[in-house]
């Protein structure tokens, strides 16, 4: 099976984020990491390849710094990588991102495309579904298990309230992978070494620009959320804080 994994670089989880001058985006001078749901998508692709053979290709869109995501994927076992490289990719909405990916892979023939469940920055949870529609492929979201069948694949979708459902679908297809579907591996030293010699194709904005349109959704303003609750902050040494907290639990919240 030939599998493409869409991966994104996002600010590190505990990175302190600040607004930029425009008030429409964050200041970009922070530490970045692989969008965690995408790490599970990559892991699942590697496991499928180990089972059925084939190829795993990682793709990302973003500035030069985003190459680190691809390097990590190659070190973990991806065979090659594609980098849609330009600062402008950061600002694309889900539709334009999907168009850019579709354009970058138009000469490829994948059986499956995996994405993470959603990204930790925009949190659209849409790019994979849109990509499937642009390619004319079926899709399924929030996948917890996947196996080959006679006619294609059988996937386990996570539903709400503890329910699940198996869905049979033909290939090629796009799947968005739920976090926790597998256990992530670490890159090995030898993997990191080998990654340096694996092919990494760069695609410039100009090559795919004709497929893009102005974003259909626009962030007018980004801001720290207004508080809806009155919060009391407890301060002092740990033992002071513990005493104050027990007082609140006992006398105000009445749970002790």
């Amino acid at each position: 099976m030939k599998i493409l994994v869409c991966m994104k670089q996002v600010p590190q989880k505990d990175a302190p984020l600040k607004l930029n001058e425009s008030g429409q985006w964050i200041r970009e001078d922070v530490s970045y990491e692989v969008n965690e749901p995408d790490a599970y998508a990559l892991e699942e692709a590697l496991r499928q390849k180990e089972k059925h053979g084939g190829e795993v290709v990682a793709i990302t869109s973003g500035p030069a710094r985003a190459q680190q995501v691809l390097r990590e994927a190659l070190a973990k076992g991806a065979d090659r990588a594609i980098h849609l490289e330009d600062d402008a990719f950061v600002g694309l909405d889900a539709l334009n991102t999907a168009r850019a990916i579709a354009a970058a892979i138009q000469d490829e023939r994948f059986d499956l495309i995996f994405t993470g469940l959603q990204s930790d920055d925009y949190g659209f949870a849409q790019t994979g579904v849109i990509l499937a529609e642009l390619l004319g492929w079926p899709h399924a979201t929030i996948i917890m298990h996947l196996e080959k069948s006679d006619t294609g694949i059988r996937v386990k979708r996570e539903l709400e309230a503890g329910f699940f459902q198996y869905v049979n679908m033909p290939l090629p297809a796009v799947l968005t992978i739920q976090s926790g579907i597998n256990k992530l591996r670490y890159a090995t030293l030898i993997g990191i070494k080998q990654a340096k010699n694996k092919p990494l194709r760069k695609v410039a904005l100009a090559e795919i620009q004709s497929t893009l349109t102005p974003n259909l959704q626009k962030i007018e303003r980004l801001y720290v959320p207004q508080k809806t609750k009155k919060t009391e902050t407890l301060e002092g040494s740990p033992s002071d804080v513990a005493k104050k907290l027990v007082d609140r639990l006992r006398n105000e919240l009445r749970v002790l």
Partner: protein
């Protein structure tokens, strides 16, 4: 014809998903600001009873998209059916609840219409004739006001709990119900029956006190500390998704959109940053106490009592103080 807001309600096997009332309440609120009319659509097979239930609300019309191919949800059939309705009726705004099912088909539907979805909104603003939708970004660290860059129809989904379902206004008389016929090709996906995994061992929905751990717990061996705190308080231990993904606690102790939704008297969050997916599962708690070393963690937005600090410093003396207090009473 006035401009309309079309609400796509959700039903499963003839039962309305309650979050649909919230979306109707949202549409009615926007309608009060804009003067637009609110219509609703029910999609499925043999859904007359659901349509009748929805028609009790104050709406201009209820459309029924009833077909055998809509009995079991598939993205192909749902997108095709709703595309036909939207192309014919030309609503200004289409609103849906942000359910797992909607996440599965709404982006496809929008793409077919040459539009986009502003997803997972928590509210809206209507400023100087312009409609903006508020959604969280960067895991809840920021909110964004987002506007549409295209002509109508505009499509948005509202997060579970963003509006109050009991605020959905009832109509003076039943709303007219209209059947809308759709033509559907066979779907590519073949879904099987819904099922649950082996019984859930713990029902956290009944717990009065919950101690919940997040990434801040750092290592599996530290879970024991949280367990001791839960035991001292006489509460249940729970966790955010990453902890269960790591296998540090079983999945049935997970709180959030993919886990259980709880409303205890006390929710004590240890090292939980408060991503939206977690918040939707616990914001019904009567009191929230949050301990986190990051003063900007979104969990503090909804906390009644906040402790900014290292949980490993604070929890041990806290357990001692709780034991002392309990011994006195």
């Amino acid at each position: 014809m006035p401009d309309t807001i079309l609400v796509i309600v959700e039903q499963q096997q003839g039962k309305l998903n309650r979050v649909s009332w919230e979306t109707i309440a949202a549409a009615q609120a926007i309608a009060r600001d804009t003067g637009w009319a609110v219509e609703a659509a029910v999609v499925g097979n043999n859904i007359a009873a659901v349509a009748a239930e929805v028609s009790a609300k104050k709406l201009a019309k209820v459309y029924v998209l009833d077909a055998l191919q809509l009995e079991r949800y598939t993205p192909d059939a749902f997108a095709a059916a709703l595309k036909q309705l939207i192309a014919t009726k030309q609503p200004k705004l289409v609103l849906l609840p942000h359910t797992y099912q909607v996440r599965d088909f709404a982006p496809k539907l929008a793409t077919q219409l040459g539009r986009c979805v502003i997803s997972d909104c928590t509210g809206y603003r209507h400023d100087a004739g312009k409609l903006l939708f508020t959604r969280q970004m960067f895991q809840g660290k920021f909110s964004a006001d987002v506007g549409f860059g295209s002509d109508a129809p505009w499509i948005a989904t509202f997060q579970n709990g963003a509006f109050r379902g009991d605020k959905a206004e009832a109509g003076a008389a039943p709303t007219p119900v209209e059947t809308f016929s759709v033509t559907l090709d066979p779907a590519r996906n073949q879904p099987e029956d819904w099922f649950k995994e082996a019984k859930q061992a713990v029902d956290l929905t009944q717990a009065e006190i919950i101690v919940s751990v997040g990434r801040g717990i750092k290592e599996q061996k530290n879970i024991d500390l949280a367990q001791q705190l839960a035991a001292a308080l006489g509460g249940e231990l729970a966790a955010s998704r990453p902890i269960c993904d790591n296998g540090w606690l079983p999945m049935d102790r997970q709180i959030g959109s993919s886990g259980q939704t709880v409303s205890p008297k006390l929710y004590l969050a240890l090292g939980i940053s408060g991503a939206i997916q977690h918040i939707v599962g616990m914001k019904g708690a009567r009191a929230v106490v949050a301990i986190n070393k990051d003063s900007e963690a979104p969990i503090f937005e909804i906390a009644d009592v906040a402790v900014v600090g290292n949980l490993f410093d604070i929890v041990p003396p806290l357990i001692e103080e709780i034991k002392k207090a309990k011994a006195r009473s």
